[in-house]
Symmetry: C2
Subunit: 411 residues, 2 copies
């Protein structure tokens, strides 16, 4: 009948999110509440915006979190930009492309898709040719497709969109702060991220940024709520969501702080601390760290004799997919890892379910001890279920990667 103290086992979380959170972030989240219009809280909001611009590598005026999980951020951008009947092109190369299609169609878009076999990415010209054919108002595309572990090159597509007055919005939920995401240099009009992946903050916020090409649409669709000071307004082009209406949310984050929602105080504390940690580490150093640990993981897996899945040239740095050996159940391996070793890795979705396992190495989870732990535990699980592996090679190989690193590996 009673509910016990909150006890949670300490897990080594090597999934593509949510991942472990730096204890500093959790500690920052114990800071007492401030009112949403408290002068100090407004300063913290402004600092968070500045830090987000650094991580998004952008000079955009707007960068703030939406109070919801990643797909709230995706929907905020899509429903704020898309008007009924707008043509939207969505290149799909995994599950999260389908999600974009789903959201865009619920916004009333005329959605055109082009699909690639799972495990591949699009050559930029393929997307560009499709843009020429379809002539959409907006292209929406996933950067890091965690369902397959693939990374889509964006710069050429972004430049083509800009030169041809097409908008492009990018789902960088899994990549931002773990893989290079150059909002401005790649000509991206809107980029959406999540807190629970490479940023290393608990799930529940969706940081995003957008430029003045997007803002122009927001301003044209703006509708002021009744009951606030300053009167209301009508707008036949109004955004279909109130909660995810970026024209209102930017007024809340802007200098007027016009009441919209009540900012999620404690999550904002956590996000600010997570971003501050990124700034202290340095974005470039952080991306290099993700690359180094990826190399230790991948070389270790290959030394073990495990087969990697997907087009290796376009692999996400922070997600590694392996094929489940013939005759073994993915859930058996996952079960041994979590129940005996306290290590969580992930299965996947749709057509690949049962065929691959996914290992994340994101944010605070991307540490030497975690890479070594997942390699050791995976080897034991594979041996237990009768897979043929090169015993003892994985850890030795990974250790050598760390020893040969030009810089000391502290974490």
């Amino acid at each position: 009948m009673g509910y016990t103290d909150l006890n949670a086992p300490l897990r080594t979380i090597m999934t593509p999110g949510p991942v472990e959170v730096d204890p500093r972030v959790l500690r920052a989240m114990t800071t007492p509440i401030l009112g949403q219009f408290d002068p100090r809280f407004l300063e913290l909001m402004n600092e968070t915006m500045d830090l987000l611009k650094y991580v998004f590598q952008t000079e955009n005026k707007w960068a703030f979190p939406v109070d919801g999980t990643s797909r709230a951020g995706l929907e905020a951008v899509l429903c704020s930009v898309i008007e009924p009947g707008d043509k939207v092109l969505i290149p799909i190369f995994g599950r999260f492309g389908y999600l974009l299609q789903e959201i865009a169609s619920r916004c009333g878009a005329e959605v055109c898709t082009v699909e690639k076999e799972w495990g591949q990415i699009f050559e930029p010209e393929e997307v560009i040719n499709e843009i020429k054919k379809v002539n959409p108002k907006l292209v929406v595309i996933v950067h890091g497709e965690t369902s397959t572990g693939r990374l889509q090159p964006l710069e050429e597509i972004g430049r083509f969109c800009r030169e041809n007055d097409v908008l492009i919005a990018v789902d960088a939920v899994a990549t931002l702060a773990g893989v290079d995401v150059r909002t401005d240099e790649w000509w991206l009009d809107a980029v959406i991220a999540g807190t629970q992946k490479s940023i290393g903050v608990p799930s529940g916020m969706a940081p995003l940024t957008y430029n003045d090409r997007i803002e122009k649409i927001l301003l044209a669709r703006k509708k002021v709520e009744r009951g606030l000071s300053g009167g209301s307004s009508n707008n036949s082009r109004r955004i279909q969501s109130n909660y995810l209406d970026l024209s209102q949310i930017q007024d809340y984050w802007g200098p007027d702080h016009l009441n919209h929602h009540t900012e999620a105080t404690t999550m904002l504390y956590g996000l600010r601390e997570g971003l501050r940690i990124i700034k202290e580490e340095g974005l470039e150093a952080r991306l290099k760290r993700h690359q180094l640990h990826e190399k230790a993981l991948v070389d270790g897996l290959e030394a073990m004799g495990v087969e990697l899945y997907g087009d290796k040239a376009h692999k996400m740095t922070n997600v590694t997919c392996i094929k489940v050996p013939e005759g073994i159940k993915d859930e058996a391996i996952r079960g041994t890892l979590i129940n005996d070793f306290g290590v969580e890795i992930a299965t996947t979705f749709g057509p690949l379910k049962g065929q691959i396992l996914r290992i994340g190495s994101m944010g605070y989870s991307c540490r030497k001890e975690n890479i070594l732990k997942v390699l050791g535990a995976l080897e034991a699980a594979l041996i237990k279920y009768g897979a043929k592996v090169n015993r003892g090679e994985a850890l030795q190989t990974a250790l050598r990667v760390y020893e040969n690193s030009s810089e000391p590996v502290l974490i």
Copy 2:
């Protein structure tokens, strides 16, 4: 250029939300992350659902939080229930009624409103007569209108709706866990709350509950996403939001745990702890505590000679509105309170802005020391700006209320 450690002044937050959070809740939020499908995390989700049913006083199958602030919960219910052209009746007696109107109209409803002068509530027959006239599919109404501090009686309206096959959804964002909210006994089909008010948890989640009359609509409108196992489906009655689609969210909270979003781990830890505290205190004792502190506050204010605003018979227990004395600026009083005493109280919206100040006594903020502090600080501020007050009476009166309480006042 550097960003400092997170420093936030310790405030006494006597607004209608967000309010102070019990240190136990903040401590629970430092628990390390669990994966969203970790067996232990699924247990925590189930326990949270059970605890929510206790607080909502319901036997409903469904009670869970939406990952967003309160208005995300309101929009989740409205957009999941309302189909384009549906007739929706919204009785309005303050700012948050306008918000319901705003959200419902963005869902494509044909919205009918009936308005009451701010500071009043509706007699149940007034709403019932309007229902008879309009014959809506759905009535949406605020329970505790924080913009004016008024509490709308709901039972008669709820019963009439049930007997006449009309649905009723209630915004109990400000009331749940601080004021009596009887979901089942009052015949309410859906009730939406917020974490940052009387529940005493940081902003960022919107707990809600609904019954099988609502679920029937959700199931009829359900559309499965592509890219998940089990194939996709089409549905011309599909819900316009993906993120706030309750038919998908209930599948995520249900026994199948079908992937939708990534549950906001740390917020869930906080919500579970906040609800556990309510269960330990006992809902009835908690409501009585709110009443006692309200009496100390109100009697103290009246002894001071401050004029209360609004229909006293229908005052919210946890929000007290006072008229700003002639010739004094509301922001001057608020400024002295926060800058000199560290006490935050609130102004309000729309037509009442500048005329009243609002004092909250919600959740963990609803404590003896806080009531006494706000009374003392307010008296000093009013004297400073030249208002005529009965010096020294407020605190003596409030102290007597506590001394005369039949039970010892521990907090």
